[in-house]
Structures are given as structure tokens and as C-alpha cells.
């Protein structure tokens, strides 16, 4: 049972912005609804108006252009992303991350932009967007902004978005030519779960450009810049990986909750980081067991 609200389905960004302006803080945008409808039901939000953006055609762009990168519009679903060949080829970290979100039925409805706008610490797509240095493009009555994803999240379920501002798309620049990457997600089951820990790792530039980002280990998804720096210097690759693992652990601050304890999460950060880097950097794993 949902509380009462007014439903609007604008057909242009302009109309949507008009409505956002009209209702101010009392408006909520609706994409796939897989977060919003649950929040409505649980009375976590009680907007006066719900603005469905799915009828705005210009928001459904999904386009990769060599050199310019990948643009994902605000209403593009996970299913569309998984089916779009260039994503799998050029942005494997994103593809793998998207593949882990919820279940297939939900992925046919839920959107990537919805995921980052909810700004849950567990947002599975955020680490991937972080390692690709994605840029969030917004629109508002006063014009739009281009916000680097690293500056987008400000706290648990909080973003830099202002009243009257909406996300139009997310752009992932062309990745480095030799980029490889992966997304590892710890779950309580094999089938479907929120991330206990999510690790995105990208390796490029012959192993000098390494990028690491995490979900579910801090109030916001985080990038581990200090750990990344290790790889710019020379030295033994195994030692560098161990150093990076340590620095990655130092850059996260997980909590204990009903899904996992802090200790387990820290351990997962360690082994997932190590496993991902070993694999991407072509290092034989040392069996420690």
C-alpha cells in the first residue's frame, strides 16, 4: 500500500524540469522504480509528486563512440546495457558489475542512473563507474553540470544533486587501450544478493595504471587512490600487490550489520583485491592455505 501522491509522465527534459521546479523537495523522479517504490511503501519518502521520466525519449540514449566513450542515459536499463556489445568489449568491469545486480527480471526494469541516484553504499555499479572515471551529467533550470563520479556521492543515500536538478546521463570516457578489469562481489547466496563487498579493479598501461574501487565498505562507494599509486613505481610486482592490498584496506571503513561483520568485510576487501590484481597482472596466486 503506497501513500498518496500525484503521478506525472513528462515527455521532454524541459517538462520534467518544470515539474521539478514546481514541486521542489516534494518531487521524486521515477525511473525503474525498484528503489523508489520500495521506499514509498515503507514510508521512507512521502513526495507530493512522482515524476516518471521513462517517457522522455532523449533519456534513453546508449551509445559508444570510439574516442569519446560511452553515454548511458537516465532511463537505460541494466538489460539494455548487458545486451549492448560495446559495453562487454570495452567496459568489462561495468558489464560484470551490472550482471550481478539483483535478478534478471529486475534488470529488465531497473536503471544504472537510478542506482547511483539512490546512492546506497552497496550500489553495484558505482565501483565500476569510479574506475572508468565516469562523469555524471545533470540538467536543471539553471543549466546543467558535469560531475565526476568521485564527487557525486556525499554520504549514505546522499548525493551532490540539488533541488530541481536531475541526472541526464553518465559518460564513461574511452578506457585506456590495454585496459582489463573485473568486478568481484561477495554475496550470502549464489543467486541474488546485495553486495557484502564489491571490488572493481582495472589494470592498464602495462600494469602501471591500476584502479580500485569498492562498494559496501564505507558510507559511500570509494576509490582507493593510495593503493593505486603503488603501481606507478618500480619494484617487485608481488610486493606491490601486497602493499596495495594493505592500502586498500586502510582506505575503507566497513561496519558490522545483519549482512556481514566488519572483520569479514575487511577480509573480503583483502582477498578480492589480491585475487583481482593477481589475475589482471598475470601473477600466479600463491596458495596460502
Amino acid at each position: 500500500m503506497l501513500p498518496k501522491f500525484l503521478y506525472h509522465a513528462p515527455e521532454t527534459i524541459h517538462e520534467a524540469l518544470e515539474l521539478l521546479n514546481k514541486y521542489g523537495r516534494e518531487a521524486k523522479l521515477l525511473a525503474g522504480g525498484t528503489d523508489l517504490v520500495v521506499d514509498l511503501r515503507e514510508r521512507k519518502t512521502r513526495p507530493k509528486a512522482v515524476i516518471d521520466i521513462k517517457r522522455i525519449k532523449e533519456l534513453n540514449v546508449l551509445k559508444y563512440e570510439p574516442g569519446r566513450g560511452l553515454v548511458i542515459g537516465a532511463t537505460v536499463t541494466y538489460h539494455q546495457i548487458l545486451e549492448y556489445e560495446p559495453v562487454r568489449k570495452k567496459y568489462p568491469v561495468l558489464w560484470e558489475a551490472v550482471k550481478t545486480v539483483a535478478d534478471e527480471i529486475l534488470r529488465m526494469r531497473a536503471t544504472l542512473v537510478g542506482n547511483i541516484c539512490t546512492a546506497s553504499p552497496a550500489a553495484d555499479t558505482a565501483p565500476a563507474l569510479l574506475v572508468y572515471d565516469a562523469v555524471v551529467e545533470t540538467a536543471s533550470k539553471n543549466g546543467g553540470r558535469k560531475i565526476p563520479i568521485e564527487n557525486f556521492f556525499t554520504g549514505v543515500k546522499k548525493t551532490v544533486l540539488e533541488e530541481g536538478e536531475m541526472v541526464v546521463s553518465v559518460t564513461l570516457p574511452e578506457p585506456p587501450a590495454d585496459a582489463k578489469g573485473t568486478y568481484l562481489k561477495a554475496m550470502r547466496v549464489w543467486s541474488e544478493d546485495l553486495a557484502l563487498v564489491g571490488v572493481a579493479a582495472l589494470v592498464a598501461d602495462g600494469g602501471k595504471d591500476v584502479r580500485l574501487a569498492y562498494a559496501s565498505v564505507a558510507p559511500t562507494p570509494v576509490r582507493a587512490r593510495k593503493a593505486e599509486k603503488v603501481f606507478r613505481e618500480d619494484g617487485d610486482i608481488r610486493e606491490k600487490i601486497e602493499k596495495a592490498v594493505e592500502l586498500a584496506v586502510a582506505s575503507v571503513s566497513p561496519i558490522s550489520d545483519v549482512r556481514a561483520s566488519k572483520e569479514y568485510r575487511l577480509h573480503l576487501v583483502k582477498t578480492f583485491t589480491r585475487n583481482a590484481l593477481n589475475r589482471l597482472l598475470g601473477v600466479e596466486a600463491v596458495v596460502v592455505a
Partner: protein
Amino acid sequence: MKNFREDLKYVGKPVPRVDSYEKILGVAEYTGDIELPGMLHTKLVLSPYAHAKIKAIHTEKARKASGVVAVAVGDDFPFRVGLYVNDRNVLARKKVRWAGEPVVAVVAETLEQAYEAAELIEVEYEPLQPVLDVRDALKPGAPLVHEELGEYAHSPAFHPIPGTNIASRFTLKKGDVELGFKQSDVILENEFMMPQVSHVPLETHTSIGQYMPDGKIKIWTSAQSPFTVRHILSVSLGVPEHKISVYVPYIGGGFGGKAGINFEPLVVMLSKMAGGRPVKLELTREEQFITAPVRQGLYAKLKTGVKRSGEIMAEKILYVYDAGAYADYGVNVGRAAGYSCTGPYYVPNVETESLTVYTNHPWGTAFRGFGHFEFLWAIERQMDLVARELGMDPVEFRLKNALLPGKTTPTGEVLREDAGRIDECIRAVASRIDWGKKPVAAAGKPRGKGIAALWKAPAMPPNASSAAFIKFNEDGTAELLLGITEIGQGAETALAQIAAEELGLPVEKIKVVPFRHTDVSPYSWQTVASRGLFMDGRAVQMAARDAKNQIFDIASQVLRVSKEDLVLSDERVHVRGRPEVGLELRQLVNGYVYPNGNVVGGPVIGRGFYSAARLTYLDPETGQGYPALKWTFGAHAVEVEVDPDTGMVKVLKLVSAFDIGKAINPAIVLGQAYGGALQSMSLGLLEGYFYDEKGRMLNPNLTDYKIARASDIPEEHEVIIIENPQLDGPFGARGIGELSMLSVETAIANALYDAIGIDLKNLPITAEYIWKHIQAKKEKIPVEAVT
């Protein structure tokens, strides 16, 4: 021991379920689908405290809200309900006993209005110290959950201890346990635990009640046991049973949670307040978790004495069941565990104490595998631990102590010759898993094998009974009326097959009436305890034979031969040896009409019943006696793979064997085996009520109360059906419903020792819990320190 008919036409065949079509078309009726003229809707206000005094309830604003018809508080209903112990309030009175207990019910014209008004209710509480652990509940001076325990009426089979939190104490003494320990070479003591878990029926509890001013009561409800609902309500309200009608359509999963009596008294009383308009309550998923009853948790302590040669000499057992706030049904879980306490093994000397203990947790009730899932976790882990201590193979150790026919059970019953064979089950699964052959680890992921056995008898009063009617129609087709409900287990289909076989009538020509209505359905005590196929099956057999006898009465007059010389087959009655001399069934079942208009006989209605034979109450001190209608045995073996980085377990292969006497419908048996096994795995590996320090459930939704999905099932599952017939079972059958969900998680835990050398003692064995044990082993931390 194959002395049953082999030439069966309908029994033993995978005939399609009789409820298939309605369910596949989406037209099957469930309680939540029912709409009645003038129906009102309910929203509950729940306690946020685990234990608190109710100081004041402010309902004025809600009463004035639009659409509100009635607002009820506990004192409006000054009576208690209960199956075995009469301890439950309809709405909390004076104090709340768990976080989630209903305190106020708001009834309105629409559900939306009920929600809105419920938000206007204010309740003032004075928090009391809660009891949140069964072990604490037993300590002297622990806060009492039920101060008035001494005043509660209860069945003579149970033993509450007033002034404590013990809702019932069951004790058992067989042989001389001290002597047994003296004769033992090795003695091993261990503790085990499991938390409370939820049935998670996908249809939440739903009930509609109507209490008309003339004193008639009507109930539409998703209840497993319509007759129990009627009986308890009758006793609690003092309304005669013929004034109460309980209607049960299809049920969207029960697993024991919808047995006994639940929210029916509430909706009935709300209807009375609303002047007799029907009142509906449908729990939300969150309410299903925190307000509906759950499976009780268990703390177990086992002390086992064995000879070097492997014979178990003595077993001292303590089971403490976490009943939560009310134990009206839960006390029988403690009792059932008490009399089955050793598992399927012969132990000459046993001393058992099985306590059902109140805490400020959600209230416990029946759950598929009734007490056995819980204690078999302890027993079957202990079997492996003892075997290891002896340096003996776990399969060999189990076989050495197997409870075979001729040996005595814990209650002193000599296991009958046709009771089924635990040894055959164990051997079958061991062979199919290639026991003894060490699996090879792949990609750094260790593998291991494990085994666990199981047994169970129905937990029910010694006088439980079932009845059935078979009603013939003019064209020779028939209706089968049952008292047992269809909760998905396939009872309707299997019982139709039994009727078909007895009557020589194709299953398609028998309609199982797809609802239960206490006004017209024959009696059946409860749909629980895997007793349905056996007891209702026997009742159906008797009803079919009764109908056949009536048909022969008519035919013998018309054909002028003695009844003994008649044969019924292929919808025709003919004279033995002379198939050409006979009559079609349809010419007989409504009375035979001669060409001149004379008629002999009349409409044929067969009636049958079955009452459990020769069961007794158990001795209150020693627990000796006859509790078991039948024993059913089984075993599982698994091969698992562990990811040591995460603790995630994959079940590569599961083999299950059950000696069910006879598979009346092999497709349904498979469904029970697959479904039960996954429930067992899901409960054991994933599920549990997790509470904060104040006793509030932290995971009351399906996001954080994980249950198994399609990608979580074992990669392979082989089911072996063993058919040593039970001579008094219908066509030799015993039933399987609950058996399949016992011990799978224990086999997995045993396999984890084989794979990585960790010993798990608490459920659920989540990936994180396994990982912690791997860590503890590496760092040489004692396992007791792992939480």
C-alpha cells in the same frame, strides 16, 4: 518383505496432480482472493518492545478517522487460546511479550483507511527486562515471561513448571545411564545450537472471520487444520461446534506454520465488534516474520558414551527449545524431540530432559520436521564427532548402531519388523556418493563428503483420527471428500489414487473436492506430522471399501449371486469367472432401476475413518510408552566444494534415500524430496532470526532473510526410494512430507570437516561463519570462541 499387490493400476504411477489445472490457470482459490459482501479490513499495531508493560493505549484519534469501524485492544478479548497449553492472548494484555506482538487492531472499510488510522494509535509502554536467550531464561531469578503459568489449562501430556519460564518439561529414562557411561571407553560431550527460523510460506497468514449476532461464526482461512481451529475456538469462546464453520480453500504453503490456531480468533472477535460484517486480516511479509509464529530455536547438550568397538552405551541429552513468547503448540515440539531424542540409533541407556522454554522472542509453533530438524543437527554432528574420536568411519559407526527391527527405541518400544530400514538408507546413499573415495579439489577449492541419517514419527495425541467420504454421482463418477488440507504436499492426488485403486475407477473420474468446510467435510485432526497419507489414506481405503460393499449389496440382488462372487473392475461389476454377466457402475451407484420402475438400493456414499492404533500417553517420569504411529527412516550423503576465500559452499551432489514403504505417486515424492532438501539446506545454511540487543528482529524481510533461489540448488540431486512396506499403511506407504527436510544441512556440515577440517556446531552455517572457522583454525583459536 514384498507381500503387497504388484498389479496396481493407479497407485505407484506419476499421475498428474489433481490440483494442476486450477493452479496452472491461475483460478485456484486462496483465502486472500476471497471477497465477501460488506467485508472490512484490518491493520495491526505491533509492539516495538520485546518485553514491556502496556501503560496506556490512546485510540481516540483512530476511532474518529475516516472509514474506521472498530478499534480493538487486548482487554476487549478476555480469554486465552492454545492447542496444548492455553497461554495465548488474542491481542496483548497488560504486557507485551515479544517485539511484533499485536497490541491493537484497527478495522476499517478499506485497507487504506485501516493503515491511515493505525498510524494514529499511540501506545505507552514501560520497558521490562527481556529474556533473549533460552539459557538465561532458565537461570534462577530470570524475568518471567508468564507470571500466571500455573493458571493455564493444558493437556495432560505436558508439564509446565509455574514460577519458571519452563512451559513444559519432558523427561525420559531408559536403562541405567550411569552404568552405561561406566561401561564406555570413550565419553564425548558437545553443545549445539540453532536459532529461530521462519516458515516463509509465500502466502502470508490470511483469515476472514464473521461473528453474526445470532451467535453463528464463519471463518475463511489459510489454516492447515480447520477442525482444530473450530475445536479450539469452540472451547475458548464457549460456542458449540455446530455454530462454527471453517472454510479452507487452497493454501499457499504451510510447512506447519498454519497448523494449530493462529489469527482466526482475532478476526472473529473483530467481526463481532463490527456487528457481524466479515473482517479480513492478511499479514504483510514483515508481519509474517515478526508477528506470525516461527520455528523454535534449540540449545542442545549431548554426552555420549561408546565402547572402543563402536557400540553406543549411553547418551545423556539436554534439549532446550526456545518457545518464544507463547508455547501453546511449541510444547509438543519439545515432547516429540524428547521421545525421538537419540536419532535412528539403538542406545541401551538414555537419560533425556527436553525443555520448552519461554523467552521474549516471537512465538514458536510446528514446522515441517517438528523438533527433529533441530535435534538431528546435534545428534548427527555428534555421531561424526564420536566416530572420529574412535577412529572409525562415520558410515560404519552409524551402521553399527543402527536402530533395526527388534531393537528398542528410546521409549522402550520394540521396533516392529515392518518398520523400514535405516541401514538400507545409509548404505544406499553411501554407495551412490562413492563413499570412501576422496574427491579431488578443483581450482584451489577443497571438496569433501558427508553423511547424515534421520528418523521421525508423527507427533500427535494418541487418539488422533481421520475420516473420508466417497460420494458417487449418477453417472458413476465420484467425489472424494477429505478433512486433510492441500498445502502443496500433493495429498489430494495421492488420496485420489488410493481411492481409484480400491474402486477400479480412473483417477479422472474422481473429483477431490478442492476445499475443506467443517460443515460438510469429514473430520481430520490436523494436516501435520506426515500423518496424512497414512491416516487419511487408510480412511479413504475404508471409505472406498464401504462404497464398494454398498455397490455389491445392490449388484448381488440384481445379479442374484452372493457378494463374494462379485468383481469390480473397469467401472463394471461382474460375476467372478463370467465377465459377460455384469452391470455398469453407473447402473448401480444411485440405486438399480428395473425396467418397470422398481428400484433397489440408493445413492452410494462410502465412509471411512482411521484412528491411530495402540498409542499411549508416555510415562511422565520415564517417557516410556508408545508415541509412534510409524517410524520413517532416511539418509543423505553430499559432496561439497568450499571456497576458502569466502566460505561459500557449493553442493555438487546430494543423494537422498527414504524408506517410505510405497511411493503412491513417484512424481510427488520427488517433488517432496527436492523441495524438502532445499528447505533443509536453506534453513541450515542461510536462515535465522537475528536480533538487536533489545530483541527486535533485524532482518524482517526477504532482502535480509535470505531463502534459497533457483541458482542455489544442489547441482545434482539423486533420490532413492526404498519400499519396505509398512503392513498397516495404505498399499504399504508411510509418507514422506517432513522427512525430506531433515539432516541435509548436517550432512553438509559433516562434509565440511572432510573438506577443510572445521567443526561447526551452530546453525546457520553461513559463508561468513564457515570463513570464521577457517580463520580460527589457521590462527589456532578454539572453536567455542567463534560466534
